[in-house]
Amino acid sequence: MRTLVLPPHHYLNDGYGIKSWLLTRDHKRIALLYLAAITFFFFLGGSFAVLIRLELVTPPGDLVSDETYNKLFTMHGVIMVFFFLIPSIPSTLGNFLVPLMIGAKDLAFPKLNLASWYIYVLGGLFTIYALVTGGVDTGWTFYTPYSTVSSTTSVIPAAMGIFITGFSSILTGLNFIVTIHRMRAPGMTWFRMPLFLWSIYATSLIMVLGTPVLAITMLLVAAERVLHFGFFDPALGGDPVLFQHLFWFYSHPAVYIMVLPSMGVVSEIVAAFCRKQIFGYKFVAFASMAIAVLGFLVWGHHLYVAGESVYAAMIFSALSFMVAIPSAVKVFNWTATMYKGSISWKTPMLYAMGFIGLFTIGGLTGLFIAAVGFDVHVTDTYFIIAHFHYIMVGGALMGYLGGLHYWWPKISGRLYPESLAKLSAGIIFLGFNLTFFPQFILGYLGMPRRYHAYPPEFQVLNVLSSAGASILGVGYLIPMAYLMWSLRYGKIAGANPWGASGLEWTTTSPPPTENFAETPIVTEEPYTYPLRAEAHLG
């Protein structure tokens, strides 16, 4: 067996020093800048979750005051949603992979890409400012009139943080859309694109069409709070429910910003580790687009109890059920891909399996609460919390970690320690379920969300959940540690350690700054497994 060596010139050694990073226009370096920033926000947001779960170990509110607790869950939500989940896969893996997967030298607008990162950081600074000036207590949803009239906390800096970060999201989406339309290598037709790109494309559409509505909504909240203009103020004849409509017009599709990229990652991983062409490629591709479109038509299911008309609720309910169709198409196609595949249980595959299982639970419980009657029963209970954590953590985060492991050899040029990685994937899966499954039961039994105290009969399930959270926390720290370790000490990966198909595996690991020695010409369909199995280095 030949010894693998790192290529002499790659994007990581093309210039050293802080300036070569902070002023870079290379999409791969910008992806790493994002990786550092979102990892910071992930652990910051996670630290609030730790405090929340600690408080909920005992029934009385004894660790923190009710006001502090309100701030804890608000900051957890704001940071996790806007500063981790939404940018997570698109900004890191998307940034790194979109040009590589289509055979381009960079994104269409490299300077704009760097600007997006700075905009994200600026938004993050506003949010941190809101945090150190006492935090926010409105919930991540900023419902009026509480956010505009009653709350005395740092609503404005937090709202501005979200407003600013939104533009990072818009510009990233714009960059991806233009790149995918205009920068594909010769022969890379739409239906030869990896499914990850279809997911990223669908995600970008949502970013571009949804985010500006959130931006204007946050601006109206700020104008009402600071200038005493009226938009949602009932005293002037304004309607607080209108705020909820505008907010969820973005924030429901935002869920698909989080989960669609993960679905793309899972498609890549499942095909690579089953050594089979993906089953029903076009169905999976169009399912992404269908989810993006349907996602814009279902926001009203967040307003069943907010004074929405019965007919509106019925229509939103029916449309919400329809989201299950493209979602199920994906799950069935992954399963069918695995059928009679030659499956190897590497870490990314474990995460993909975790995604499929947990996303299915999250998605099916989503059907429960799309039904108006059941939703009225569990609205604002832990059932809702459990449902969306199954989608966002069980789905989006599992996909993110799976993708990070799958492409880590490409990003760093080195392998992560496989058995330790498998162990931590198992720990995360167990910890996750122990944390959130009891919350389904708690919610069904009637424990409301956003309270720092609860009746003693809920204690056992809450202790289980907190215990699970501590396991989950350890599970997240281990990959953080060994991925950093592997940057220096990991085994050299070689160009294609998984024997995977796709243009990104044809260039060196790490890739050179210009990505490919010469522009690739694509002559074959995607996922040409098992044709390349011989090339597998084992």
């Binding site: 040009p99 381009a104 030298k105 960079d106 994104l107 269409a108 607008f109 490299p110 818009i170 714009l174 960059n175 859309i177 233009v178 790149t179 339309h181 205009r182 920068m183 571009v208 069409l209 949804g210 985010t211 500006p212 509505v213 931006a215 204007i216 909504t217 601006l219 109206l220 104008a223 009402e224 200038l227 005493h228 203009f229 009226g230 938009f231 005293a235 002037l236 004849g237 304004g238 309607d239 209108l242 505008l246 017009f249 210009e514 522009t519």
Partner: protein, 219 residues
């Protein structure tokens, strides 16, 4: 016979040729304008709902507008769109002097618009039509709902004016690029793309003017 193609200095490293670069930046601007439609869209939805609920207050609020100022501004903006289109044409034909003149006229018209808008804001401020504690409105019965109208008026026209200011900044850049020779007959795409933005801001006003100034005129 094969020609030896020298890469243009305007070609960015990530593109294969100027054609691809041009298509990419044009598409980029269209996508950006789509986000702008959604951005203003949130405001238009809010406006429509409240106008449907409070037609009398909105008509009364609209009667307080300085119609001559709004009408003049509409004419000024449409003319600036014309000069902008002529600037793009001058860039296409490589006429640098004409390009710079049209850009300067476009910017001057933009400044006239902002000047008239500032005068209007001043008048409304003096008449206590700015929402908040000092807000006054006759008849008293419509005072509360009229505040919604004026809140929307200030945010919609204010954001539009902000877009005008950004547009003027963009035009200054274009003027600089036209002056230093970055813009050529072969590479005039930045002018074209800036023109798209300018026309968009113009079109937003074409919607704002009837919604805010004209609805109460014949009631």
């Amino acid at each position: 016979m094969a020609e030896i193609v020298h890469p243009s200095p305007a070609l960015a490293h990530q593109f294969d040729n100027l054609e691809q670069q041009k298509e990419a930046s044009t598409l980029g601007m269209w996508v950006f304008l789509t986000t702008e439609v959604l951005f203003f869209g949130g405001l238009f939805v809010t406006y429509c709902i409240y106008r449907l609920w409070y037609p009398a207050a909105f008509a009364a609020g609209s009667r307080e507008m300085l119609i001559w100022a709004g009408a003049t501004n509409t004419a000024v903006l449409i003319t600036s769109s014309l000069t902008m289109a002529l600037a793009v044409h001058a860039a296409q034909t490589g006429n640098r002097r004409l390009l710079m003149s049209f850009l300067i006229v476009t910017m001057l018209l933009g400044c006239v618009f902002l000047g008239i808008k500032a005068f209007e804001y001043h008048t409304e401020f003096a008449e206590h039509h700015v929402p908040g504690a000092a807000f006054e409105f006759q008849p008293q019965a419509l005072r509360q709902n009229a505040q919604l109208f004026f809140s929307l008026y200030f945010v919609m026209t204010g954001l539009h004016a902000l877009h005008m200011i950004i547009g003027l900044g963009l035009m200054s850049f274009m003027l600089w690029w036209a002056w230093n020779g970055t813009i050529t007959k072969e590479y005039y795409n930045p002018i074209e793309v800036s023109g798209l933005y300018w026309h968009f801001v113009d079109i937003v006003w074409i919607f704002l003017f009837p919604l805010l100034y004209l609805i109460g005129r014949h009631v």
